[in-house]
């Protein structure tokens, strides 16, 4: 009996250690829950193009929105909510006038991407990110993730487009 108890304790300890390691691997900074994404998804620059946007004012950005294969399929089929595995990338650049293009056109009309400002991602995992509508949010400037306070502002803003599963960007045919 004593031996069996010892065995049980050993098993329990092992399980505890393994789950601790798994938890540590999931989020490197020791946060209690994975509320946002801290790693840049691989190969995102090869993804297909969803649409573009220009934000005037303070942001003054030109953006390209790309989607992985799961995202593109869902967009084209008009499938909502987006399935788990969907990743949407928003590449943002400073909106700059192209002097070269304007010279050719003979008037000031052309705006092109300037230096990259940041890259944002939305990662769909309905279990992992259940508390934020199934979406994990990410923001990287110079490869560095946004801080927790900043990241907390993503979900409440996206929650306003609940009819399109918290995604603002529509597919451009």
């Amino acid at each position: 009996m004593k031996r069996f108890t010892l065995f049980l304790v050993a098993v329990a300890t092992m399980v505890g250690v393994v789950s601790l390691i798994a938890a540590a691997r999931g989020h490197t900074d020791g946060e209690p829950a994975p509320t946002f994404v801290t790693e840049i998804p691989q190969g995102y620059r090869d993804w297909k193009w969803v649409s573009s946007a220009h934000e005037a004012g303070k942001l003054n950005s030109l953006g390209a929105v790309l989607g992985n294969d799961v995202a593109i399929r869902a967009y084209r089929e008009g499938k909502l909510p987006f399935p788990d595995g969907t990743i949407i990338a928003a590449l943002h650049y400073r909106n700059v006038a192209s002097a070269e293009n304007n010279k050719v056109f003979g008037q000031a009309q052309s705006f092109v991407p300037g230096p990259p400002t940041n890259i944002q991602f939305m990662v769909k995992d309905s279990k992992k990110y259940a508390a934020t509508g199934g979406w994990g949010f990410a923001h990287f400037a110079d490869g560095k993730p946004g801080d927790a306070a900043f990241m907390k502002s993503c979900f409440p803003c996206h929650a306003k487009t609940k009819a399109t599963d918290l995604v603002f960007t529509r597919y451009a045919p």
Partner: protein, 174 residues
């Protein structure tokens, strides 16, 4: 000897047929645009992104520039001139404010792609299009050629100021 000649003729014919078929395949489907004889390349909407742009004024459009694999590789390698087989697609939409986005932002700031206007292609074939810098030009709207030969003749002179980048305005956005 006669037999060998016959075999050779058969082989040449077979190779010719295959080459012709693959050439036709590369040209895509539907009606060809005038002047350069370019058809819509199949699958272009799946190509990778080179960059985006906004033209204000009369055009008032939003653009996405996509490239086939040959184009993307050359852009990323910084290789000039762009090799034969390069195809660059320029997709354009009307440039419209997004009421939905503006409501969320609490101010007028957001502009998005509205309805599609037209799609243009630049196809590199240094032999076929030798007289226009190796480039053939085409424009389509709703899947049909939408520019006559006279209009397409204006493409190359306009692209000439960017000869240093092989007549391509768009630069790769990292």
């Amino acid at each position: 000897m006669k037999r060998i000649s016959f075999l050779l003729v058969a082989i040449v014919a077979a190779v010719g047929a295959v080459a012709y078929t693959s050439h036709a395949f590369g040209q895509g489907a539907g009606e060809a645009a005038p002047l350069f004889g370019i058809k819509i390349p199949p699958g272009y909407r799946d190509w990778k992104l080179i960059s985006v742009a906004h033209e204000a004024g009369d055009l008032n459009d939003f653009r996405a520039v996509l490239g086939n694999d040959v184009a993307i590789k050359a852009f990323r390698d910084g290789k000039l001139p762009l090799p034969d087989g390069t195809i660059i697609a320029r997709l354009a939409w009307s440039y419209v404010p997004s009421e939905e986005n503006n409501k969320v932002f609490g101010r007028e700031q957001s502009f998005i792609a509205g309805s599609p206007t037209n799609v243009q292609f630049m196809v590199k074939d240094s032999i076929k299009y030798a007289s226009t810098g190796g480039w053939g030009f085409a424009q389509f709207k709703n899947g049909k050629p939408d520019a006559d030969a006279a209009t397409l003749k204006k493409c190359f002179p306009c692209h000439e100021p960017v000869k240093a980048r092989d007549f391509v305005f768009t630069q790769y956005a990292p």
